[in-house]
Subunit: 310 residues, 2 copies
């Protein structure tokens, strides 16, 4: 049983109550706690030494990444982050200076986005550092965007460039908070999520939630320079497009919008975010799963990102 | 540097914003998110295999304990829990049935207290299971009770019995949610917290936050049957009263109230909670720290619970 199968089993019958607008399964939980004009967003995310960072990673970047990942989930709901709790599990003989620097990186990013750090705890995890962030945010009532709203005929967009994040971006990415709020304020976005496991791994979640399929145009996938460089320098590395589809930790926005608004969106985007690429990478169709089109034909893309000829 | 010294350093200068009513340092963070009649409570707490439970612990009890600890912190603010996120970090070859049973125990307690489980995540921690709960709650505006309100002359109360929790109570305790709300509704409680590290370890936090001292009457400390049994059966074990002061994981309420209301409180308590002991264990004084009085005299109690003759 893998992580997704386990989660599917565990989340089938969870306790609920009248505060729950959207429970498990989207980028954040959405709660109605009685704020007249707002809903509450609630999210946790953990980073673990040896998986998301190493002992060689600069500690400020570890702290920054831990918070940035959670901020990206608030962005994926078109929300605004408010307050976070920080849980740090540490080996017994921790280096206090190292921990202080983790906090320094985390605090700097929190201040940039006006997020309050309101506590948390330190506990013991003898073998490795684990940092879990719990984040609260808000979103205007009626403005939060789920994964489940994609419609047949929608254009599929992605911000930035994909792949090769491990070369550095995974520690320095900018959560797309302002961009997502701008999208929600100016366009009728049907479905939105952030990319953490790679387009080939994440898009299926959006498709499944929306009960639709997707056709992607291989040449339209925005491949990062880091992924291209790696493919060029190392013949054993993944082809650059496959890296863009499967590397993960892109923390870009993936969203769909009615095709008729696509051109207007691209124009407005260029004016507002001239330094951040926005790419239309395909369209939503009926059926299931992802078809990747190139000059030769259509290939089926599975959730693990492997390309099979269809 | 121990945990408390590290926390003191890290929490000295945390980012804040206008939503923060009470940040790090109390049982929960308190936020004003604009709910007309309520404030929001926000808390995380983690349990770690080998520290808070073992592989031999029944998995339902592990899940129950993880949530119950957090609920106890909501009780410590006189609040009501609303929704939780569950982070489970697991070794690679986890037993799915074991994890499902952790959830079963957690879900059962959540349902009992009408708490929604709105998601979370599973991640990898190769050597041991770690469960972190993030919990949201609410409290009526003006009704949340901090640690910092104790006044000289207050009577100090504790619910239940202390010590020996490791014999079983730490897996089965009832978070004192109803009791704490009743206290807040019917009496002017000056300071309130829950006992997790033992009276000798926790009371100093309340005293420091309130800038007062305390005198405890040794004979008034409610010692659990489990602590008494252990002391009786094993001459190498802690004396029972010392166990009650230092064992920890009691998850009872500790609070102070003006002495003139103490008798009325005890009477009303007996009517409302006839099965739960409430003990007046001493009084708040000027000065610093804790003095423990017995027939011989007064002893200074330090934060680690050791008794020194004063």
């Amino acid at each position: 049983m893998n992580e997704f199968e386990l989660i599917a089993r565990l989340t089938k019958t969870l306790p609920t109550n009248e505060s729950v607008v959207t429970g498990a399964g989207d980028d954040c939980a959405v709660l109605d706690l009685g704020v007249p004009d707002k809903l509450i967003l609630f999210k946790t995310d953990a980073v673990v030494e040896g998986i998301h960072f190493t002992r060689e990673t600069a500690p400020e970047k570890i702290g920054r990444k831990a918070l940035a990942r959670c901020l990206s989930d608030i962005a994926a709901m078109a929300g605004t982050p408010t307050a976070a709790l920080v849980t740090i599990a540490l080996p017994k003989n921790f280096d206090a200076e190292f921990v202080a620097q983790i906090y320094a990186g985390l605090n700097a990013l929190a201040e940039k986005h006006a997020v309050a750090i309101v506590g948390g705890e330190t506990t013991t995890n003898p073998e490795r550092i684990l940092i879990s962030i719990a984040l609260l945010g808000t979103v205007a009532r009626g403005k939060h965007i789920l994964r489940s709203g994609a419609k047949v005929g929608d254009a599929i967009f992605v911000t930035g460039e994909l792949g090769g994040s491990r070369a550095g971006k995974h520690l320095e990415f900018e959560p797309r908070l302002a961009e997502a709020r701008w999208l929600a304020d100016h366009f009728q976005i049907h479905a939105l999520m952030d990319l953490s496991d790679g387009l080939a791994g994440d898009l299926p979640h959006l498709l499944k939630a929306s009960q639709v399929g997707a056709q992607l145009l291989k040449s339209a996938i925005p491949v990062s320079r880091a992924a291209k460089m790696r493919a060029k320098e190392n013949s054993a590395a993944k082809p650059a497009v496959l890296a863009a589809l499967t590397d993960g930790e892109d923390f870009e926005l993936l969203f769909t919008i009615a095709s008729k608004h696509a051109v207007k969106l691209l124009d407005a985007w260029k004016k507002n975010f001239p330094e951040l690429k926005l790419s239309c990478i395909g369209k939503i169709g009926g059926g299931e799963g992802i078809l990747l089109r190139d000059k030769i034909g259509s290939h089926k893309l599975n959730a693990h990102g492997y390309v099979h000829f269809a």
